[in-house]
Structures are given as C-alpha cells and as structure tokens.
C-alpha cells in the first residue's frame, strides 16, 4: 500500500536527519513541503490517509483541519503548535516538526480513547459532584416537606424537565411535590390511583427495586402532568425511592418531547439519586415521628405557663441542666383554688438527679399532688401522703419541695409556706428588704415519717415571694469562674426587685444566674415568683384576657 519513492529520490534534509526508521514507526507520520505537497508518508500514515502519496496535495489527501494547520505551520516556522481534529471515528493530535528547508514532519497521535475517557471522566465528575451536593442538601434538613422540596427541585433541575415526588399514602391521600425545571415547589395532597402510572404502585408498595420503566406519555393521568409543564411529555421514568426498609416514595421524571429520552446510564444515575433521596426522606420521617412521640409524652412534663390568679401574679422560669433538653429534675405547678374563697397552691420542687429519669419522677409527683389537692389546707398531711407514695414507688429517688398556699384577703395576700427539705422561700418587701420564710421540714421520699413547719407570711401590694431550687444558688461561675452564686447574691438581686411584677422577678433571677454561669455546666434551675401588684386595682393585662379588659 505504501507508495514510497525513497530509492528514486535523494532523501531531503529533514527526512535524512530523522533517519529511515521512522518509516516503520507504529505511529503515523507524514512529511509535507512548504507548498502543501506530500513528500512522504510512513506506513501507519498511509493506512490512515490512503491518498497521501508523494506529490499529492495535502488538501486532497488529509482532513481540512490538518491541511489548514500545515499552512499556518509553514508561516509560523519553528513556533508551530500542535493541533487536534477528527478523522473518521478517530481523534488525532498532530505535532509539527519544522525543518530548515521548510518541510514539516507531522507526527500524528491517535488519542481517541483518551478523549473518550476524558469525556466519560468529566461526566462522572459532574455526576459525583451533583450527588455530593445533592447529599449535602438532602441531609441538611430532617423535615419531610423540606426533603421533598429538595428532592424534586434537584431532580427537575438535573435529571429531567419536571419531577413529581409521590409519597406513600397518609390515610387515603398521597402527599405530592412537584417542580418544573427546578423552580418553586408545589405541595399537594391528593387521592390518586398509583396504578394509573405504570410501575408507581409497585414502587410505593415496596416491591423489590423495580427497574425504571418506559411509559407512554400519552397514558399519563392528568394529575401526573404537572401544571406549568407545557408541551407533551416526550419520555417518562418512574424511579422508586428505597427508604430504610420501607418504601419512602417514588419519583416520576418527565422530559419534554423535544428533549432526548433517558438513556441507560441516566436511568442508573437517577436510581442512585433516588436512593439518596429515599434515605434522606426516611430519616426525616423517622425523626418527625420520634419528635412527635417525644412532644406528646413530654407535654405533661414541661413546666406549665403561669398567670395570675385572683389578682396575685404567678410566674415561673425553668432551665434544664443540659441545653439539648427541656425537662429535668426540677418542677413547679400552680393550682388555682376551686372557688373564690379557696387557696391557690403553688409548688416547686427538685428531684434528686437530673435528665429524663428525674423528669419522669417529677411527672409522678405533680400528678400525685394534683390528686391530693383537696388536702392542700394541711401542708404537713399533704407532704406525708406524698411521702408515702414516693416510698412505695419503684423509684429509689427522693425529692425536696416547697408548698405555697396563697389566699387574697382584701389588700392583704396571705401565704402559707412549707418546705420539705427545700431551700426556704425568700420574701421581697416593698422597701427592698429580703427575708427568709421561717419554714423547715424533712425531704420527701426518703424517711417513713415527715416533719414540717409552716410559715405564715402576709404580702402587701408591691411585695413578692420567690421559690427557687438550689440550681440557682449553687450555680458555679462568675467573673472568676469557680465561685458559687450563693444565697447572698440572690438576696441582693431580689432587693432590687421590690415592686416588680412576678415575670420581671423571674426573668431577672434567671438572667443573673445565667450570666453567672456563662457557658459552664450547671444543674437544673427553677424559679417561681408570687407577687402582689403595686397598684390597688387588679392587674390590667394578664396576656390571657381577650380584647379590652376591665379593671
């Protein structure tokens, strides 16, 4: 095949310089002169370009891009650059070597495979980057709605022209989320027949991974044709979202008629994406379910919202020892008296220990106390009954608590305060004096018998009583880092609180203790303030009265 006139012509300078071995080189090479005529082509080059015989014009023998490159290289001389172009199915790289006589040797490298590999690599990199990004976005939120949004938005922007996510039915309705072109997501909940879309029912029932299915777009039910998705769907794919053991839903991907259909690698890719979305959705649903259960169980354990009763203000504040929790071993409650002449009973206590275990016992104590309310006139008896209950319970914990019965008598507010092994309540007088209520008693749930001494205190308008747990006074911190907050600081703080409404007192005590602690560890802290408003009339606004209030 090779036409070579080497024997009949003197080898020219460049060829002579390169030597004869290039003729057998495995890579194509050809020599052309400055005028654009082929001088010589080696065996490999001749196979590539059958017309490249000596004397032929490059323009007729090789692809245009190479002939053009030759003209440029002839002008540029030694600074000629390599070029690349296609020839039949191949991608070739052509490197010029310019000789002194103007002849140019073109060394041709077939880098078709490399180009293919590079293209494949780039596409894989794009997909990997997309999946990494998708995972980041999907895992960011544990909210089911948000996960649905992210899933359809990513799918509609990267995998198809529109995407619809169908979740397993909640009741009879299926939650749906739709995005067209990655735009805003529309949520809805609809009674649909999954069997109307081929493969959807199976995907939602959790049958073994159904291969993505080709669906005739014309058979799609109207609900599966998203609003804003103009033009007929050209191709449709249903991909199941495998969750953790249970099907998390199914993704319907739609492409417009003029858009290419899904190829096999795209389907695989859609499945990989769907697996991640399914895992994220499952996690979100699990979290939502757990959070719901926790919230339901915790309702009774959360500190109650307090407000005023018969013109006496009650306010409470609670801070659990761990910032991640809302409940702990401290508790408080206010039980308004049944009638106008009845005492209101406030209780604040501290169960030995902290965390959830302690919180469960506070729930038990609060429930028991509620049942014992008819006995509230006799604090000692009430404590004895509570003591009996705790002694027989399976909890090996004890508690301290303080009871405050509050009765309004004209301008006076009469308190009966009884401590069961608890820090004594503090009384804030109008003039800023702070007294300790003279009450003492044994702690509850430890000994068979309970002793308690009740203190009777009268509050005048502008005065208040503070019940607190030792989490406040035993808070460690301060500017020097390791000092107890202590009763002295608490009393000093309260001295500034004369005349303040209960909420403000609670807030101030919590704030000072909180600032004292800074970022350090601390125990559960609970405070209840009972205050008699400054003014003569009943408190004007309690946050619970609707509309205009009357004094």
């Amino acid at each position: 095949m090779t036409t070579f006139e080497g024997a009949s012509r003197q080898p020219r300078g460049l060829v002579r310089h390169v030597g004869a071995s290039w003729m057998q080189a495995p890579y194509p090479a050809l020599v052309a002169d400055a005028a654009g005529g082929v001088v010589q082509a080696n065996a490999a080059a001749a196979r590539l370009f059958p017309g490249a015989v000596s004397g032929a014009w490059l323009d007729t023998a090789v692809p245009g891009w190479l002939a053009d490159a030759h003209r440029r290289a002839s002008d540029d001389g030694a600074s000629a650059r390599p070029v690349r172009g296609r020839h039949e199915d191949l991608t070739l790289e052509a490197h010029p070597t310019v000789g002194a006589d103007g002849d140019i040797v073109w060394w041709l490298v077939d880098d078709t495979d490399r180009v293919l590999a590079e293209t494949a690599l780039q596409s894989e990199r794009r997909r990997t980057a997309f999946l990494a990004d998708a995972s980041t976005q999907l895992l960011a939120s544990l909210n089911v709605q948000r996960c649905m949004e992210v899933t359809v938005q990513l799918a509609a922007a990267n995998l198809a022209d529109a995407a619809m996510l169908v979740l397993p039915a909640a009741g009879r309705r299926h939650p749906l989320a739709v995005s067209v072109g990655g735009g805003p997501v529309r949520h809805s909940s609809a009674r649909i027949d999954p069997a109307a879309v081929s493969g959807l029912a199976e995907a939602l029932q959790g049958f073994p991974p159904v291969p993505s299915r080709w669906i005739d777009p014309a058979t799609l039910p109207p609900w599966a044709n998203p609003e804003g998705f103009d033009g007929p769907a050209g191709s449709v794919v249903v991909t199941p979202l495998p969750g953790h053991g249970v099907p998390a839903g199914a993704l319907i991907l739609l492409r417009r008629g003029d858009h290419a259909a899904f190829d096999a690698s795209e389907e695989v890719f859609a499945r990989i994406f769907a697996a991640r979305a399914g895992a994220a959705l499952s996690a979100a649903r699990l979290y939502t379910e757990q959070a719901g259960i926790t919230a339901t169980l915790m309702v009774e354990l959360l500190p109650p919202k307090l407000h005023q009763v018969q013109g006496v203000e009650f306010a409470g504040g609670y801070r659990a020892s761990r910032d991640t929790e809302r409940i702990g071993g401290d508790f408080y409650d206010v039980h308004p008296g049944a009638g106008p002449g009845q005492d209101t009973l406030a209780v604040l206590g501290d169960v030995c220990g902290k965390g959830l275990d302690a919180a469960v016992l506070t729930g038990k104590i609060r429930t028991t106390l509620q049942a014992l309310l008819p006995m509230a006139d006799d604090h000692r008896k009430l404590l004895q009954l509570l003591n009996g209950t705790l002694l027989t319970s399976r909890h090996a914990r004890y508690a301290t608590l303080v009871l405050a019965s509050v009765r309004r008598e004209g301008r006076l507010t009469r308190l009966r305060l009884t401590s069961g092994g608890h820090p004594r309540p503090l009384i804030v007088r109008r003039n800023g004096e702070v007294e300790e209520a003279d009450t003492a008693g044994t702690l509850i749930g430890a000994l068979p018998d309970v002793n308690a001494r009740t203190a009777e205190i009268d509050l005048h308008p502008g005065e208040a009583c503070l019940l607190y747990t030792d989490g406040i006074t035993e808070a460690r911190g301060g500017p020097l880092g390791d000092v107890l907050f202590g009763t002295r600081r608490l009393r000093e703080a309260l001295a500034d609180c004369a005349g303040m409404p209960a909420e403000a007192i609670v807030e101030r005590v919590q704030m000072l203790a909180g600032e004292w602690i800074g970022d350090r560890a601390h125990d559960d802290m609970a405070v209840v303030a009972i205050s008699v408003p400054h003014s003569n009339h009943l408190t004007a606004v309690d946050g619970h009265t609707r509309g205009r209030y009357t004094a």
Binding site: T136, R146, E507, P533, R548
Partner: protein, 378 residues
C-alpha cells in the same frame, strides 16, 4: 427617635382629643416610669380604639418608649428594677394586643411564610424580638416566637420540625456574637436563611455580613420588609467551619483569651492591686464590681478578637465611660485595667493593638458625657 415616621399633626388630630404617637409616647412613658400598668395599657388601647395602626403603635410608641427606658437607665435616672418593670409592662401589653387582634383577623391572614423569631443563646433582652414577632404576625406571617436565650440545639430542633422560610435572630449584646455565629451557621446548615438584627450586630449591621447572615435589618419594619421581599435559601455547604468566615481566628488569640478568661481576670485584678494600693481598702462589694468590670472588658476584648474589629472594644469602653460618668465616676478608672491587660497579653499582637486603641479612646474622651444607648434596639 425618628419624628419623620409620625404622620403630620393634622392627620391624627381629629375632633376632640385624638392622641398622636408623640403624645401617646409621653403618656406611656409617664405610666411605665410610675409602674402604672393600668395607665400604660390604657394609653395603648385608647390609641387602638381610636383606630391607630397596631404596627405603628408597636414601633412608634412602645418600641420608642422602651428605647427611652434604656436611655434613662444609661443616664442613671432609672434603676435596673424600674427598667425591668417597664419592660414587663410593655411585654404584657404586647401580649394583650395580640390576643385582642386574634379574633378580628381577616380571612386570608397568614398568607406569608412561617418565620421563627428567636434570641441568641445568652441573650435575655426579648422585647425587640417580641415586637418583631408581633409585626410579622400583623403582616400575615405565621410566627413561632421562641423567646429569650434560645439554646442553638433547641432552635435547630424547632426548625427541623417546622421548616420555616426564615429565622429572625435577635441579639443586643455584642459579646454574644460568637454564639450568634454558631446559631447562624447551624441554621444555614439545614437550609434555612437567617435574618439578624439588634445592637450586637454593630453600627450599620457590620457584623451581620461578617458572620455570614443572609440578611440584616436595622429595625422591625425593615426586617418585615426584607422578609416580604423574600430571603433566598442559603446554599448548603457540607463543611463550613468558623475559620471559613473568620480566617483571622487561626492565630488562636480569641481561643486563648476566652479559654483563659477566668485566669486572665484573676491576674488582672491582682495586677491592679499592685498598681493601686487604694484597692486594698475596697469593700467586698466594691471589689466585686471591679472584678465584674474587668471581666466585661475581657469579654469585649475577646469579641473584638473574634470579629477582628477594635471598634467593638473601643465603643464598649466609650459607652461604659458614659455610664460611669453619669454616676459620678470618671471614665479614666478603666485605664489601669487596660494597662494591666497589656502586660498580661504581651504575646498577643492583635489584642495589644486593640488595647492601645482602647486606652487612646479613654484618653481622648471629652469631659462632658453624651449618654448614648448601647445601640438602637427594636
């Protein structure tokens, strides 16, 4: 105060006595000063009965009076207790306003997206956030008001459960900026944009962008406007570390100063005692105040290191100087503490620069105090 926000006199002065925001402010101020909740509520509800716009009542009356309460405290004309009492009265009036408005809500309310409003962990001043929450409710948002001092784990758990369109985060104390930064990062990591506000974010909200917040608003009205325009969701990034936003933190000065805070305070107090023999005669209470002052300076210095802005320390010193002088104490009492800190922190070049600037500010203070508030709240 911005009188420009008040409508012209003739617009509100109808037949008989119709209160203007200006007169209402005076009346409300007088009532909260006297801790007369009844009178205070009367002023606000009279205004509303006259048909005043609730948003205007919140922002141009209550928020303005609350601002004045802060100013009066700073000027030493109001005790902490009176300030707390005034705040409590405002808080309860706002609660009553929202109850009053609730049944009359027009159909089609809550058309705007859900917003969570919270104070940064360690931030106890809830009123500005409370006012914002009410303004947003009035504008049709569903609002979850999480209150003062919300630990970031609570905030994050709430967001997972509710997925609001945005979080509005309030902080008035600059030393809470590192906590605010942690909260902003945590909220954005779950794909929820954060709008911040409050005096902590500095003049013009300069620290909001520094800490990567998605938006900042100078007051509740602007915040509501910003949310109405919509704040785009942050781009979820897998790994965002504190130093990505604040590369200067790699010098560890913030870390070392805040970690050794207690020791630094102890050493500085000891150093002061050597310098100022008079301190030996201090009462226990005076000593405690001095220790607290030093601790505050160290906290602000640490935050200045965190934000890499000397202004954070110098503005605090200037403001503290005003507070001291309003109580008859010369601002120069702060200087020896700074001088001792310079000795303690001689290996910390950024901290030293800030302390030099701080001392220069104290040195250059005029003798007449100006009594600004720490910042423009609400």
């Amino acid at each position: 105060m911005t009188p420009a926000l008040d409508p012209p006199e003739h617009a509100t002065a109808g037949p008989g006595r119709r209160p203007t925001p200006q007169t209402a402010r005076e009346e409300l101020w007088a009532a909260v000063r006297d801790r007369d909740e009844q009178a205070a509520a009367g002023v606000v509800f009279d205004l509303l009965d006259e048909g005043a716009d609730p948003e205007q009542v919140l922002l141009d009356v209550i928020a303005k009076v609350q601002f004045r309460v802060g100013e009066e405290w700073a000027a030493g004309r109001m005790t902490v207790a009176a300030e707390h009492a005034a705040t409590a009265i405002h808080d309860r009036i706002i609660a009553a306003m929202s109850h009053r408005a609730a049944p009359g809500r027009t159909a089609g309310a809550e058309t705007a997206g859900a917003v969570a409003v919270a104070c940064v962990d360690g931030e106890w001043h809830a009123l500005p956030a409370r006012i914002l929450a009410e303004v947003l409710r009035l504008r049709g948002h569903r609002v979850d008001f999480l209150g003062a001092q919300v630990p970031t784990p609570h905030l994050v758990a709430h967001l997972h459960q509710t997925a609001p369109v945005a979080v509005a985060l309030s902080s008035s104390i600059p030393t809470r900026l590192p906590a605010a930064h942690a909260a902003i990062t945590a909220v954005q990591a779950i794909g929820v944009p954060v709008l911040v506000g409050g005096a902590a974010f500095g003049p013009g909200g300069r620290y909001a962008a520094l800490l990567g917040a998605d938006a900042w608003a100078p007051d509740a009205r602007a915040a509501a406007d910003t949310l109405a325009r919509g704040v785009p969701r942050p781009v979820a990034r897998a790994m965002r570390q504190t130093v990505d936003d604040l590369p200067h933190l790699v010098d560890q000065e913030f870390t070392l100063v805040s970690r050794s805070r207690a020791q630094l305070v102890k050493n500085t107090v000891a150093g002061l005692e050597r310098r100022l023999p008079a301190m030996h005669a201090y009462t226990e209470a005076q000593r405690e105040r001095t220790v607290e002052d030093i601790a505050h300076i160290v906290d602000f210095l640490a935050t200045a290191l965190y934000t890499d802005d000397a202004g954070l320390l110098t503005r605090f010193l200037d403001w503290t100087g005003d507070i001291l002088e309003a109580r008859g104490v010369p601002a120069t009492v702060l200087d020896p503490g700074l001088a001792v800190l310079q000795e303690e922190l001689k290996d910390f070049p950024r901290a030293l620069d800030f302390l030099v600037e701080g001392r220069a500010v104290l040195d250059g203070r005029g003798s007449c105090p100006t009594i600004p508030s720490p910042g423009n709240e609400a």
